[in-house]
Symmetry: D3
Subunit: 298 residues, 6 copies
């Protein structure tokens, strides 16, 4: 889950001055004017999205993935309502009536949090992943109405035939997620199914998804409702902000206590967050994205 | 939860002929033209909403209350989103961030089903009722994030001060539910709180509620979002229809096998469903509602 | 679940003398020589199988139904093994592999206990009943991998198509259970499915079942494995005996303390257990079964 | 759990040609003719049983251990039935009657999966291990009727005195498991207890166990029923095959995409699977087992 | 659980005047001076302890039994500490060490609430009752570390041999509870076991118990610690008072709204609470206790 | 949790002779006479409290932290009783009455075990930690009435305002824990709140705590009850001893089998336990504490 609420306004970032430390989401690779402004400003730009923890995970993206994963089911349940284009099924059913079937692609942060909410609401949940150790872990911590299944084309094809909600939660960090649901496969699904692609802003794992907004969150192809809001956590700013602050606080404190140079020296993962420093691009992928010179710093 | 999808159209009910058995929701008291047409038709009108089981419960209303109770949380969660007027809080929070607080007024069918979904989504749930035996039962079957509490003005006032969602699920069968949340009390609530009044079509237990539709489900008073759709189950017709059929099937079979007269003779609760028979009003409350003569039949 | 370990031997019951109180399972209707011997003996015969509690339930049959219901899944799981004729599926699957699907017909004592074990072993469980109140109760006390569903021909037909185990737990007390699974329907099932009919000794609810023994418990029709042992609890005599004694103890004490006449006078349900008293048949259904005179006693 | 369905037939492996890649279970050390045939064939033999993951675990044995662990309780429950030699106890008891007591030796894959099923069936479960961190983990993910206990002679002796089922799930990878249950200790157990030794094909941890088959799975010593089938997963081939394929698929894909040499170069754990390559023995333990020359390859 | 904080002081009750309604715990049978003063006062005395609900239960005693039942385990755990005379065992153990064993006599309100806390703290719990329906219900709502067992001398004798805590929660309403634990049986128990007799103020079900106070709550006989505080809820007055008010509020409102005469006329159970009315003793058992004339009023 | 039952008596340790291996808790830094005696004795002193496992954790302190963490709630619940100075609240409430609120500072071993017991007893639990990965793990293994929250001054201040029990479970290994609850903050708390500082013997995280004993475990400041027993596990010696033996056994066996020198050579973590060897101080912190020469040995 990449978090990018909106294109930042020039009026906002033009105020940044040389030597200032800016610690936030940048996503330089996707918006060149911002990169150029930051290079020009000679500020110290530490990007949330590239900070790493000691295991190489992205600790400042995880909270947003948690929020989006949990929200994805809330959205799926809502858009399953008939007046909104869905099949007209209540997620958890009622005693005597079968509940909805939710298929979650990916057993990472997004998928796991989605599975918690989907099972809590009483649906039948399938969560698919290729990592068997992860599947076993999920089988041990999730409720019994969640079935962890090996992810392969056979299982996906089989399960979507009578799925009510499909959650796309597959993300290859720094890479393109595979298109697990193709345009062709929509035809196998029933009318009114809801797809939620949580990774839509990175291309997503559902071929027919393209980013939408909270104002116009869904569109329909082949009778299948697509919910592909690019910045899902933006709808719950109270929760998202606190979650993000919990994660950034330790880094902010380190930078404030020690200065950015010492802080980055002592914490290699924080150093990985440096993207632009005093006019130089110091994160290789950003430099490469625009064929600009790269200067190693960590 | 009274279920009345829409005013029935004359074009629909004008086709009914003498001696036909019509077994459906009528709600005669709230729509005089329908009553008059049925009296004129000389049909046998058995109203879902007045059929009783052997304990005096209303078995053909319960499935709709179950659907509405479960849906109420789905709606509350959705309208808690900032772009829809809510506080911008995610119902279940995420690890490290406190979840939302849901206050459910009434521990009957609606409230219990609401509590199941609210707890399943990870919120902190309070369910209030004046029946201690019921509270003990709820404490034994609901998850541990549900606190069953005695319902009194003190507890309600105290809890709504920092509630995020309030569900009105109080219904006095055949009577007017008390106004547990008054206009005045809205001022004590925070901006962006969501109220869902499931019993709105019977007056409801929230003073400021008035019926809305799935097309325009909410309105705001004093910063508080009101969701008061009169026919909530109508949004999930697949689930609602199957749920209702499960409940009506046994009665339909009896009527078909034995004829309505014998069926009603053998099952006093079904007999209570008779409202209009061959031109006579046979349900006292309906007769009284329009000062019409009443003929006892059960 | 009728419990009848074997035809009683004449050598056993020929020792009974006039005035003796015999409190045990008799099942007179199904074995005339025993009835005649008891009539001749002039003993007091109180039959476990017809004693009733204050709600008209059969408290001395319930423990055996509990044992048989729990055992039914143990048998289903075992005979699902390939070398025993089954599909070669492990009931609970393993992480990454889908578990088996268990369909339980009837949500009474047998079905509920079966559902507890089947869900505990990790399978996907459907339990079907026509009583919606019962289904709601089951949804509140059983684990989340059990789906309580309304029982009708549509649901049964749909579910057995890919079921792995089908449990017959339907019993109409004092009547013939309907044949919910007919010979014809076996063709819709997959090879290696296991049927367990717990009520087989009363005709059962699976048309193709006929009683078998622990020595040769199964037979195969149309590729479907039938487990139809008539006295399932007999395989776990330790548990069954203690369970039965728990239930009979109170009655035995009453009879011992007060004599059978006073005990039966004070406890109408115990009185219903009287079948043959001093040479007279005092239980109507037994008398009728053999066109013998009946003398009312309770 | 070593998986070896049967001695491979010469007619099967004589068809293998030079340069072919054979990726399967070999267990060369236990069957010399196969080793010699493979050496002679000049094929590339990658043995499932020696492939390692990045933590040194054996990912192609784990799925079989999961299957066997879960099955072990199914077998224990079945053979506890009286007609099969057991105590005649129902694993989960019924309300009012104490359930059976299951003692599981080893808290690894086999023991953990056994504990899940045993607790799900309602028995009282003790799981013993010497690793306290593992015991804490088990206490956090297993149901409350499982008691994780430190494994020592005192506890084992104490627990088996009134155990109903004992599961042997101790395996020292690449070594001989200790004999935790000796011949002598059988005398302390009650008649009709069921022992299941899941690691029997590696010597097992129960002294009196010797491998049996699905055709004749049990034998009795000192009144104690021994279930020691060498290839337990073979009875549920559908589940076992899918589970195994889930685990091997990634390796097969790597080998197919890159050729075995590059695949083994990039994945050291896969390289550990190489046993015989073009006529040379490249796995040290296999070479040593027959005093043959060993050629290092990883 | 009879609640009687202390002997009421004359200075307190001497202020009561003719015609006043006094609605509180009286327990007249156990304190004659109070009875005489009330008779003399000509007040209307409605005793909490004899009010009944429509099923004949005592709704104003239940809340106190709930409090005492839950507290009983808290006390048991505390007095199991070595410095307080106990065995020096931690109730829930820790991973690797076996938890304590708690035996609860009686599956009514007290026993059920005790079982909830004891299981929540991680101990092994046995709850004994003679009512099999109740045991089944308990098995369905309590955690899996609670074993519901039939109550008989054999089971009690067997279980207390290695019990750590024994809770006496047996109460025969209006009668003397049987002495399930006799003086003799203490010898079979281990040193440092803790007995908690919740019904001590009615004689209790443990022969050696005699009422103690919160100031000196325990005494030791044969090495067994006895906790027998007569008014357990008095130690948690906040919880007890709110719990009691929840239960009495409806009655108080009825009396206030309608006057005691009409209220008692309409609610037969409340009428059962009348003990002394305008100088007459109107509750038979109280009159009998002191050989005073009784005047029927309900 | 440092475990130090009492100052060791000279009469005890004066018996130790040269070359003897003493493997126990020493805590040399806090008791100089013991250090000097051991130096003089020329014994081999291996201190439980400094042995490390392969991840740098302290495996011989963990069992004591587990015991103390679980006990902390037992103590909190008891001292919350009115006669002992508490608020007079029952930890779990009863149906209809709100349960107590427990705030646990620190999500490590102590805090996690405390949360298990507090939630098991039915209270509302907040557990605070700065490690988000740990909070997520806790949210996945603890019951739903536990809310894992990010630990910061804002949350602590907010939560203690209406907390009933506060558990101090923060420990900086080898360092001073921060004073999360200051003297000033007590004024914000309600009268009768109970504080339990489990790390009191290392200074603790509650400013006003000073070590107490099992004989006089509590004192009151500003109306707040402080429970600060320095050696909590000492009250449950049976459990503590077995827990400790489980942890030490493997080390004892290694030392016995191989001698201390080889054992310490092969296990670097055990080597870290060496404090005094043949008259030399070989643990740096101990040497530094008394400005004595230090000799490296591992």
């Amino acid at each position: 889950m990449i978090v990018k609420v909106k294109e930042p306004l020039e009026s906002e970032y033009s105020l940044i001055r040389s030597g200032q430390i800016v610690f936030t989401y940048f996503h330089f690779a996707s918006y060149k004017p911002l990169l150029e402004a930051m290079v020009k400003s000679k500020a110290i730009c530490i990007a949330y999205e590239t900070v790493e923890d000691s295991l190489g995970r992205l600790p400042l993206l995880i909270p947003m993935s948690e929020v989006a994963g949990r929200m994805s089911i809330q959205e799926g349940a809502k858009y399953l309502e008939k007046p909104l284009g869905g099949k007209g099924i209540l997620l958890g059913g009622v005693p005597g009536v079968e509940p909805a079937k939710v298929v979650i692609l990916g057993g990472g942060v997004v998928g796991t949090e989605a599975a918690k909410i989907a099972s809590g609401m009483g649906s039948k949940v399938y969560i698919l992943d290729v990592n068997l150790n992860r599947l076993k872990h999920l089988s041990e911590i999730l409720p019994k109405n969640v079935i962890p299944l090996f992810s392969n084309q056979y299982n996906i094809n089989r399960l979507i035939k009578d799925a009510d909600i499909v959650i796309g939660g597959v993300l290859i960090p720094g890479g393109k997620a595979p298109k697990l649901i193709t345009r062709e496969m929509l035809k196998e699904m029933q009318d009114g199914v809801v797809l939620v692609d949580v990774a839509v802003d990175q291309g997503g794992c559902i071929e027919t998804c393209r980013p939408t907004t909270h104002e116009a969150p869904t569109f329909v192809i082949d009778g299948v409702v697509h919910y592909c809001v690019a910045n899902m956590p933006g709808a719950v700013p109270y929760t998202s902000t606190v979650a993000l602050n919990n994660a950034t606080f330790g880094y902010v404190k380190k930078i404030a206590d020690k200065g950015w140079e010492l802080a980055c020296k002592e914490d290699k993962g924080l150093c990985r967050g440096l993207n632009v420093v005093k006019g130089k691009i110091v994160y290789e992928a950003v430099a490469n994205a625009f064929n600009r010179p790269y200067k190693a710093i960590c």
